[in-house]
């Protein structure tokens, strides 16, 4: 499905559907997806996490995938708390291990539409090895990476996506390391779907997430997200609004851009859908081979 085709988000049909849902759920059309008794959440004022979460829920809602068949897996961090607010099968793992857990869950029950929802530190510092291997295996699940350029939960330390020059609590004089260009890591490791958006690009993000939910194989969506408390206040984006304004003014959409050329150390932020290709999934390949073996051995 191309991004263009799924652009019926505001169609009358959909709006009517939403109205029906409003009646059954109460105040907000997405309430049914949340554990309402766990709200208010712990996130700071101006944090972009709410935007990413509601975009995911809108995408899920629009996709028509029943929430009983949806699993969300998070690691540790502010982003890792997403799982705990969802009214569906949701798992809050140890730091870095959301992806291998999701691998076991998905292979164990292939009916579950599984999404890993976690932070840049969780997925690419402590969990980086799992990310590249899951992409290589092409296990059928999605990874949403909330990239807020730092370790938010532990108080704003530098991480594998922190821009070199940024000052953080552990790089008080600026850093010395080069950050990952996440779409290139994902594409280079074998992901079949790779996109980057910011918390400002809500509509496109929703469509992208819906595509990922519907697509077979390992799909990766990076979302640049304001973290005023941990990151912004030391790097000139003191409020969520300032970060959003920055994303708005400095982003350029370029679908199909070469992932190796979208690193964030340039003047503009390149967003868009970079990779959307077909490849047999881990389950498909294994299914075929196992079936052939069973046939050969005469077992059912």
């Amino acid at each position: 499905m191309s991004i263009r085709k799924s652009r019926n988000y505001f169609s009358p049909d959909y709006m009517n559907q939403q109205k029906e849902k409003d009646k059954s759920y109460g105040l907000h059309p997405l309430d049914g997806y949340l554990k309402k008794d766990r709200i208010p959440h712990i996130w700071c004022p101006g944090c972009g996490l709410g935007v990413v979460l509601s975009s995911f829920l809108r995408a899920l809602d629009h996709s028509g995938i029943p929430k009983e068949k949806t699993a969300v897996v998070s690691g540790i961090g502010c982003t890792g708390r997403v799982a705990g607010y969802l009214n569906m099968d949701s798992f809050h793992l140890t730091h870095g291990r959301a992806i291998p857990f999701a691998t076991g869950l998905k292979v164990g029950n292939p009916d579950m539409v599984t999404t890993v929802f976690s932070g840049d530190g969780d997925l690419f510092a402590i969990g980086g090895n799992h990310f590249i291997h899951a992409a290589r295996r092409n296990v059928d699940f999605n990874v949403i990476c909330v990239n807020n350029f730092n370790f938010g939960m532990t108080g704003g330390q530098a991480g594998p996506t922190t821009p070199t020059e940024a000052t953080t609590t552990t790089t008080p004089f600026g850093g010395f390391e080069h950050p990952f260009n996440l779409p290139a890591v994902a594409a280079g490791s074998g992901a079949v779907y790779v996109a980057r958006w910011t918390a400002y690009h809500v509509e496109a993000l929703i469509r992208s997430l819906e595509e990922a939910l519907n697509k077979k194989g390992f799909c990766f969506v990076e979302v640049l997200t304001p973290c005023p408390t941990g990151y912004g206040r030391r790097t000139g984006q003191k409020t969520g609004k300032e970060a959003m304004k920055y994303y708005k003014e400095n982003s350029r959409i370029e679908h199909g851009a070469d992932p190796t050329e979208v690193s964030l150390d340039q003047d503009e932020i390149i967003v868009g859908k970079f990779v959307d290709r077909e490849a047999p999934t881990y389950q498909e390949r294994r299914g075929e081979i196992f079936q052939a073996i069973r046939k050969k051995k005469g077992v059912e």
Partner: protein, 385 residues
């Protein structure tokens, strides 16, 4: 393998035990001396519609196993010391989230890379206290290929019945030794499956235990919307980071094992009834110890063997009873510098001395060297440990 009598090694028996117990998910990372377990699983799984995954490391192996367990599968991983060390954090996660699964650790010489191909028993206390926090654990220690089969089945049953990760703590000798193994027909195997909730998703409290302190388990895709977290959580499974919830939860997790320990505990005795000296040995060493008992008895020393099959729960009451009854001494033979010996010493409560026959790894005790120690103890020539 079809029910029959076989001549196979301990690792193959372990893999077959897992399959017999209903294991259909296996994830691990190759390591000596556990590799034959993976290889057997890889070969056997297509026929049984199982999922075998060779993961990128042991951190991933155990995480995948926990994920598969929450997908409703019976799941296992197998490793040795270096990999077991990597698993410690998620071992605790599985204990905290009450995830049934089985972790096989085939012990080799440590610390560090140590003696990859040779035997040791240095990971005993790691299975008990290796993960951070206070936990209640169950650890089986098989002493033969037959027990590799039987105790793997048992480990799955205990994992499912009490909802926890169970460790099968084997060693390089038991794992690589080839012996007669009987695989019984399905009807003769007692297979336990986890309790499922009987109430509706609206009424279901995922961490509200029954009388046995074990909560029924709803898995992903069953419509219960389970939330699973390693954070301290209340009966709804919601994180609740406060002292009261912590006390309530951790107490239950520990009591779940303590209060059911009579049911879980397993040990074997050999010529203990009239024994004046009792050897305590487990795993491969118990085989030499048994021989030593007979050799010493032929010389007129009344010796018996107490072989813990579960290291946790530990046969505390039995050792206390024997000590209080007037046993002259305990001799603990283990391939480390003293781990279970302190447990035995604690259980004797000062009634008699406890001696240690240590070994640093690489080989098991010979019966002769144990008999030598028994002579010394019998003649009162040994200072207390």
């Amino acid at each position: 393998m079809k029910p029959d009598t076989y001549f196979i090694d301990g690792n193959t028996a372990c893999a077959e035990g897992a399959i017999a117990a209903g294991c259909t998910f296996f994830a691990s990372y190759p390591i000596t001396p556990a590799t034959e377990i993976l290889e057997t699983m890889a070969k056997r799984f297509p026929e049984i519609h199982g999922s075998y995954l060779q993961m990128e490391d042991e951190l991933a192996s155990i995480a995948a196993v926990i994920g598969a367990s929450w997908a409703g599968r019976k799941a296992m991983t197998a490793t040795s010391g270096p990999g077991f060390s990597l698993m410690m954090e998620n071992y605790g996660f599985a204990l905290m989230t009450e995830t049934p699964c089985v972790i096989v650790n085939v012990m080799r010489g440590g610390p560090s890379t140590g003696l990859p191909t040779m035997v040791a028993q240095g990971d005993v206390m790691q299975t008990r206290w290796g993960t951070h926090g206070d936990v209640g654990v169950v650890v089986y220690c098989p002493g033969s290929p037959q027990e590799m089969f039987d105790m793997t089945v048992e480990a799955f049953n205990t994992a499912e019945r009490y909802r926890l990760p169970v460790v099968l703590l084997s060693d390089a000798v038991v794992a690589h030794m080839t012996e007669k193994v009987v695989i019984p027909p399905k009807e003769e195997l007692d297979i336990v499956n986890r309790k499922k909730p009987k109430n509706s998703p609206e009424e279901y409290l995922p961490y509200c235990p029954d009388e046995d302190l074990v909560p029924p388990m709803a898995c992903a895709g069953e419509g219960y919307g389970v939330h699973v977290t390693g954070l301290t959580h209340d009966e709804r499974g919601y994180p609740s980071v406060d002292e009261k919830t912590q006390t309530f939860l951790v107490t239950r997790l520990i009591n779940k094992i303590r209060k059911n320990s009579d049911d879980i505990l397993k040990y074997e005795e050999y010529k203990v009834d009239d024994a004046e000296i009792i050897i305590v040995a487990y795993g491969s060493v118990s085989r030499s110890a048994r021989e030593a008992v007979d050799m010493a008895r032929a010389e007129g020393i009344k010796v018996g063997l107490l072989r813990p099959i579960t290291l946790w729960p530990f046969p505390e009451d039995r050792i206390y009873e024997l000590a209080a009854k007037g046993v002259k001494a305990f001799l603990v033979a283990e391939i480390n510098f003293g781990q279970i010996v302190y447990e035995v010493q604690r259980c004797t409560d000062g009634h008699c001395p406890t001696y240690l026959a240590p070994r640093m790894g690489g080989s098991i005790h010979t019966p002769e060297e144990l008999v030598e120690r028994l002579y010394g103890i019998n003649e009162g020539k040994e200072g207390s440990n």
